[in-house]
């Protein structure tokens, strides 16, 4: 850690880890409800556990992104964060908002719009927190008078994420219009600007871990983000199938969704070749696992599993089945959960005391159990979804009767989800195993002096 204020990141990561743990509790609870009967039916039925599960995901991943930004920006701009106090105030407000939302959902306080269930007052708090965050980051960059393309992409992604939340504040009488604009937030986040954030973090990690040339990495970062937007913006159309909008969204959705895996494949190749070509091996090979793992799992979960059902003539049959849950789990995990865990794994030896850079065997167990568990979960949802499409949509068996026939897949889901949960539990335990460095412990390198070495990864090539 070269800047004192980077230690802010630790507390963001710590909150993210707690929320991640909580997300799994509600995920497992939801999974058992597929098997039923549900003893909690009257207090905590599926709709509540499911809403809490997805909301926690969004909140912890965003917390991770913010923590990552507080870690990356000082290094890239070579300056302390503008206001450390503001950063902590932001974290407290954000956490309180998250906890209030969860408790609220339990007692039926919800806006009831899929993924945007946050009641209106909480949505306002979210906007305020985003403004605090962006002000702090932009002032840091302004004060430093220096920015890199890598952090530019990361911060631009966060600015756009905040902007795209604004349509979620509006309500529409027409349900179709409300669906239309829901995806401006959710789709353009997940398959647009969040991927921009992922790309920025990936570039940062690859430069640090592989020592790849910054000029080359940033050139390709532009190309990849360009491809992501080319496919992702018009790819929104695949959410406009069968919801009451004009017919032309069908072919547009099919074509641009088919481009999405290509953009993601580009991202994976970017990561792979950066590591191959560099010839350097960073001691933190666990962080390398997470970084490459994120790029590869994104191609699988977001790219291939997404394209498996975005072609209109396929989607006609799979729309609204468990096939979507298959893609949802693979995509969010690979692209966002894994990139946050990559940056945490990379930063943790610097943020905590007595931690080996190489990582420990617990860290590897955490990685492999999560990857295998999540792979099994996508298979469970996928096979259940295919069964559902065939029995319910093609043969015409009733929904409830079909679900009874899928019980074995739900058992498989619960088994693989348990493997995943153990892996995630190990990751969280490993995170909290060593205490954070206090600001006083931090050896701060003199500012504006470039130290050659691996962690500088190409900074030396950067024009001053």
């Amino acid at each position: 850690m070269r800047y004192r204020s980077q230690s802010i990141a630790y507390w963001y990561f710590a909150v993210a880890m707690c929320l991640f743990g909580l997300q799994l509790v509600f995920g497992l609870l939801s999974a058992t409800k597929y098997l039923g009967p549900d003893p909690l039916l009257d207090f905590l039925p599926f709709d509540k556990t499911k809403a809490i599960h997805t909301n926690l995901l969004i909140v912890w991943v965003l917390t991770g992104f913010m923590g990552a930004t507080y870690y990356v920006v000082p290094e890239e701009s070579r300056s302390e964060i503008y206001s450390v106090k503001l950063a902590y105030a932001q974290l407290v407000t954000w956490t309180l908002m998250g906890v209030t939302a969860i408790v609220g959902y339990m007692f039926g306080w919800t806006a009831g719009n899929k993924m945007l269930e946050q009641p209106f007052p909480l949505k306002i708090v979210i906007v305020v927190v985003m403004l605090m965050f962006l002000y702090n980051i932009l002032m840091t960059i302004k004060q430093a008078g220096r920015w890199t393309v890598t952090e530019g992409v990361l911060v631009a992604g966060l600015v756009l994420a905040a902007l795209l939340y604004l349509p979620a504040l509006l309500e529409y009488d027409n349900y179709t219009v409300s669906i239309f604009y829901r995806w401006w937030t959710i789709h353009l986040w997940v398959e647009g600007v969040w991927e921009m954030i992922q790309g920025g973090l990936l570039a940062y990690l690859l430069i640090r871990l592989s020592g790849a040339d910054r000029e080359v990495m940033e050139k390709w970062l532009y190309v990849i983000v360009g491809l992501v937007f080319l496919a992702g913006i018009l790819g929104t159309a695949h959410h406009y199938y069968w919801v009451g909008v004009p017919q032309y969204w069908l072919p547009i959705g099919g074509f641009f969704s088919a481009l999405e895996p290509l953009a993601l494949l580009g991202m994976a190749m970017y990561a792979y070749f950066a590591m191959r070509r560099s010839g350097l091996s960073h001691p933190n090979s666990l962080a390398v696992h997470w970084t490459i793992g994120s790029a590869v799992f994104t191609v699988f979960g977001a790219g291939l599993l997404g394209f498996a059902h975005t072609w209109p003539s396929v989607n006609k049959w799979t729309h609204g089945t468990l096939v979507t849950a298959m893609h949802g789990h693979g995509a969010f995990y690979g692209a966002y959960a894994m990139i946050v865990m990559a940056i945490i794994t990379y930063a943790l030896p610097n943020l905590t005391v007595n931690r080996k850079v190489e990582g420990s065997s617990v860290g590897y167990w955490a990685f492999w159990m999560q990857v295998m568990g999540m792979f099994g979960m996508t298979l469970s949802f996928g096979t259940a979804g295919i069964g559902q499409v065939y029995l319910e949509r093609i043969l015409g068996l009733g929904y409830l009767d079909t679900q009874l026939k899928l019980q074995v897949h739900f058992l498989m889901l619960l088994a693989t989800a348990s493997v995943f949960a153990v892996g995630a539990g190990l990751f969280i335990w490993n995170f909290f195993r060593t205490p954070p460095k206090l600001a006083a412990d931090v050896l701060v390198a003199p500012q504006h002096r470039i130290i050659p070495g691996m962690d500088d990864g190409g900074l030396v090539n950067q024009k001053q």
């Binding site: 409800k33 597929y34 039923g36 009967p37 549900d38 039916l41 039925p45 599926f46 709709d47 509540k48 499911k50 809403a51 039926g108 919800t110 806006a111 009831g112 719009n113 899929k114 269930e117 009488d173 027409n174 349900y175 179709t176 669906i179 940033e218 050139k219 970062l221 532009y222 190309v223 360009g226 491809l227 937007f229 080319l230 992702g232 913006i233 199938y241 069968w242 919801v243 009451g244 909008v245 004009p246 969204w249 547009i252 006609k316 049959w317 729309h319 609204g320 089945t321 849950a325 029995l391 949509r393 093609i394 043969l395 015409g396 068996l397 009733g398 929904y399 409830l400 009767d401 019980q407």
Partner: protein, 272 residues
Amino acid sequence: MTKRQGRLFFIVCTFLSAAVFIGLTIDTHTRFAELTNEEKLTPAVISGKDIWHANNCINCHTLLGEGAYYAPDLTKITQQRGTPYLTAFLKDPSQFYSEEQHRRLMPNPNLKDAEISDVIAFLDWVSHIDNQGWPPRPIIVSGTTIPDTDIGQPAIQASVSSDPVARGEALFRSAPPACNACHSVAPGANLAGPTLAGIGARAAAIIASPDYRGSAKTPADYIRESITHPSAYLVPGPMYSANKQSFMPDNFATDLDTEQIDSLVAYMETLK
């Protein structure tokens, strides 16, 4: 390629895509009214939508295929179930399905009568949205349109409810032999017997037609007569009857008691 060209590629891709997307969005706005029948967005429909949101329905059900896959899709539900059925169901779902048999159950939403009627108005508005004809085949809540596909399911011998419509629906799937072995309730899905989708409404037209020789005066009478005396009126088609004799079993008049037949009639009348 240089870094500048990379940046140019990024800028051009982003702006072009965004421009096309915004252009199509504007065009879509000019079409919403016609595709979604905006003139039928009555206060009841809008209030129904608010109740739908307030009760977090989307986090179990799907509507227009969007939602949480834990409960049936409701896009066309008002075309499969009549208002009396849906009203009774929303008053107490546990009267219609049981957790032991179906492994999952809808919690009672505790809605007032006016709220229930608003939700049904909203669902009915949704069912008329022009959505490119999705779903391509009806998605049904329970039972089957194909004989024998429910083999191996727990036998649903009797409903858990005393509501005649609910009891009728349960009987529909179990009366020996089960009605749904030959009749679907999905529009257009004719199996061994004709579909019973819309039978409540169709019965009136049959009674009024000159071909009708039976003694029924009301749709309810007609449905009762069809159960107890299947040959009183023959639905046209060589696959349903021969020599003025319906292929439908005629054991129901003797094997079911009056109350059971009343329940079946009550249920089928809701199939509008």
